[in-house]
Amino acid sequence: MSAHLHDDHRSDGAPHRDALYWRTLADSFDVPSGTREFPPAADTPPNAWSRRQFIGLMSASMALAGLSGCRLTSDDHLVPYVTQPVDVIPGRPSHYATTVTMGGYGTGVVVTSHEGRPTKIDGNPEHPASLGACGVFEQALVLQLYDPDRAQAARLNGVSCLWHQEMQEVATHTGTRGDGLRVLMEPTASPTMARCCAEVKQRWPGSRIIIHDAAGIGAHGAAGQAWRALFGHDLVARYDFSRSLIVVAMDADPLASGPSHLAHARGFASLRRARSAGQPMNRLYVAESSPTCTGSIADHRLAVSDRDIVDLLLALLAELMAGQGVLCPDQRIAALVAGRTTSAHPSWIRAAAADLAANRGAGLILIGDRQPPLAHALGHALNAALGNVGATIAYGPSPLMAGDGDLASLMRELDRGQVDDLLILGGNPVLTALGDIQLGRRISQARNRWYLGLYEDETAQLCNGFIPQAHVLESWGDACACDGTRSIQQPLIDPLHGGIAACEVLAALVGPPRLARDLVRDTWRDAFQGAGSIADAGADAHLAEVLRRGVEVGRASSLVSTAADWSALARFEVPQRSRDGFELSLKLDAKVHDGRFANNPWLQELPDPVTKLTWDNAALISPAAARRLGVAQGALIEVRCDTGALTVPVIIQPGQAEWTISVSLGYGRRGAERTAADIGVDAYPLTSISRPWSAAVIAVTSRPASHRLAITQHHWSLEGRPILLEQTLAGINLPADAPLQPPPGPSLRPAPAHGPGPQWAMVIDTSVCIGCSACVVACQAENNIPVVGKENVLRSREMHWLRIDRYYRGNEDDPVALLQPMACQHCEKAPCEYVCPTYATTHSQDGLNEMTYNRCVGTRFCSNNCPYKVRRFNWYNFADGRDPLPLARNPEVTVRARGVMEKCTYCVQRIRTTEHRSLVDGVPLRTDAVVTACQQTCPTQAITFGDMTDPASAVAHLRAHPLAYAVLEDSGAQPRTRYLAHVRNPHPELT
């Protein structure tokens, strides 16, 4: 099967009724369809500006435009170092390996620093949780470092204070046992933090360490509860996707969320590159309520409510036992299965069961962190019965520090007045605490409340003492990955605002203040001396080596053999039979996570991987639900639940489960962060201890008002032309001489002139693109791409050079999603070049479509003539940023001014720098020496770049493959970027 993808909208705006593929629900609902490239009023100023402000701004810009071109006085300074650091060469960036943490787990990264100024974060190829890739959160940390809204001073009762003196004061009045001392912190897998916490506990035996994380990953979530009950202790499951031929993900997004998602995505992609029939290729089954990145690439996706997952698991078990003869690991599970069978989705279950049974030891059943412990236990039962445990799944010890309790236990102590001093180390628990804990109300029952935070956020506002926290790029630390591999976090820059690390606060509590660097060094030395085999000097040398590589390579913790005690099954609550009616499903956001990144403009403006929503959160409802409720896109609805009510705008999301309303957490922030203010609604109050991720909906009522949602899904339409191709594994074997597309007609344009050097080209494999958008953020960081704000996104003025187009095929309730990263295609016969009146866009000898900003006068003819709609225009001086945000910029790339067109350059700064280095060093240019920013960060390695004239290069090899095609090939533009047709591996009985 081979099919062309047609965009669903003709240039006249009329929907293409019989379209096989579509982007929006314009046919059925009042959803904006493909907007014109420059929609009406595209050149009007944002609403927020009055005419007077606008004219003032314009005249200021004009004055600057007039002056910046010439220079009659020299006021430009050259400021050298007083003493140049040994390893700094001005003009050449340095790279440092360090570690960033999410949910306690470490991810190894390599940070690029220009003269002491970190500007870009990439993955560390040696770290097991990164493998050289980086997600959106890790990359956006560099902007967070320079956030002007970060807290800048320690204070006590509104007066500035010396934090370490105050810590000693706390230590003094805490007494000998410390019964009133509570430390509330985020999960940590840092050996240094564990040591500092142990010292606190040793000095004050009555104190307690409370660990809280909204994400509830691993040991601190439902999975942790299940493993503790089944196996008797904390464990972490390690999944090997590179050996899993059948993957069944239940309410899980293993490829784009969680601490190991980068490694999962890499392993998954390694079995997803079948380019001829007969090659091994995995098959992905996903059951989920709201589409995720993993769901987008599934071969068979099932839209089911979160509450139906347990039943689905039981049905899968039943089918395996009855239909495939798989032995049930325990009678108690069999009893559970017998009592709960469902007849829903029989063909999906039959196909998945048949595949799993046929691939014993090469399958993987994953359960999401939002599912109850019973689901995790059943998932383990399935994996154990199929022989996957020990093959594709291994259990290792949890590297997370075990605390003394959770927020619920702290709540009870606060109510009893047992807490005198509450020391909160990061995490903004007042925002992220479950709704019925009401931490914001209860926290004042602690006499002394200290908060170490990056921002004056919701928690800071309720604490009488505040200490600014050092950013992860500003402080020393250490962390473990899921597999126990230890790595070091080293500072790239002195704290910009005098920030303090969490371990320094704890150390100051128990003794004289110590630097985090010394604390980390002592921890690592002690570990060696404890090991006994390496002397002190050896320990320091080892530490230096770990520091250089950023990770202790090859030192994952050993596996734990598991024997499940199935009698624990009785302790799990069996969810009631699915009720009718809507369920409110709450989830962590793909862009702001639990709210911690809400003040990050890169992430706020990043289109959500699924909805393409920017600068907001919304209620995702299914098309069927929208019909039932009679609501349109953007309409406000009031969702009344047993735990509270929420008024939220609607997004009608294809593929959403019919009875599920999904809202992401982390919006509606009330702290002092200016960017995050007034964005979205806060759904945390609807969470509860008994049901942290959902709420039962009592009523949904439509409000007469609506909300403008800045969704980019309908921007930059390709106007009804063939865009992408797909194949099934079974139908893949095409004869090499049968092209996928008709060749272009004869051209009057001259053949492009090629220089003698490399000819750069890119190939993107759509089969492995999961839409995670890491490349979009990488491009933004590398190329100084500005953020424009919601008002401008609504006018199609977003500046991202790289976008991920999302298309759908099939019916609107359960469509197949197709993803296609789209950036400048670097056409050999580029339509943009022919129409530029000032030669601002030209062709280079090595095949790049160049954009020379200083020649551009902003006619926008090029963008008009671009068939791929990848050119972006600076309607304003979007690049202006509050200090110190401009410090995040890459000095190798021009910061574009107002009135200038821009677009993907294939990271020309990296090409030119690499060429120069090869000339200076006298070594030939290797064909794989240039790595573009998007390619570098892609977790699935979907992007290949290199010299297409070198027959040994990967890019030349892929371009010649029968699956390679050019978008709009018949237009004759001869794009340098090619795509590999999307290959799926559906079950024969489900196609």
Partner: protein
Amino acid sequence: MVAIPSALAFAMRQPPVTEQGHIIDQPIAFDHRHHVRDLGIDCRYCHEGVDHSAYAGVPPTSRCMNCHNQVWTAAALLAPVRWSAETNTPVAWQRIHHLPDFVYFDHSVHISRGVGCSTCHGPVDTMARVYQVAPMTMGWCIDCHRDPAHALRPLDRITDMDWTPSAAEQERVGTDMVRRLGISPTLDCSGCHR
């Protein structure tokens, strides 16, 4: 209609606008004549990045103090250097050679291809205060990129301030360099603008 733009275009390329020969006071009266011609210090002792970085670099104060904590330790002329070292305050030199922000010039690649210091910067060893000699306009850059042979010299003469070959010798040396090093300077916009 044509006259005014043409006149403007002409005027923009004249020394008062390009700042050729414009003398600027520096915070320290550093004399290249003394250091280069009298003492024979190589350019790269101070401008150490020139052969491996885009920037030639301006020496850190510590580089000055390498010698001046031994010689002329009490000279009034050097008081700003000592003050910089003592207070850990960098010296803010006035930039002489100013390229626009959208131009990315790489010193190291020019040095490695045989473009000498004095080719662009002139006889710095004769300057009491450094001034700009070349127009530093795009046309001036492109002239060499179109015909590099007239601007190249052997790699061991890069920092030689006295390299003044005859026309015939320049022709011979330049052509030889172009052939031997395979020099084909970029004429692509993205070679310098990105």
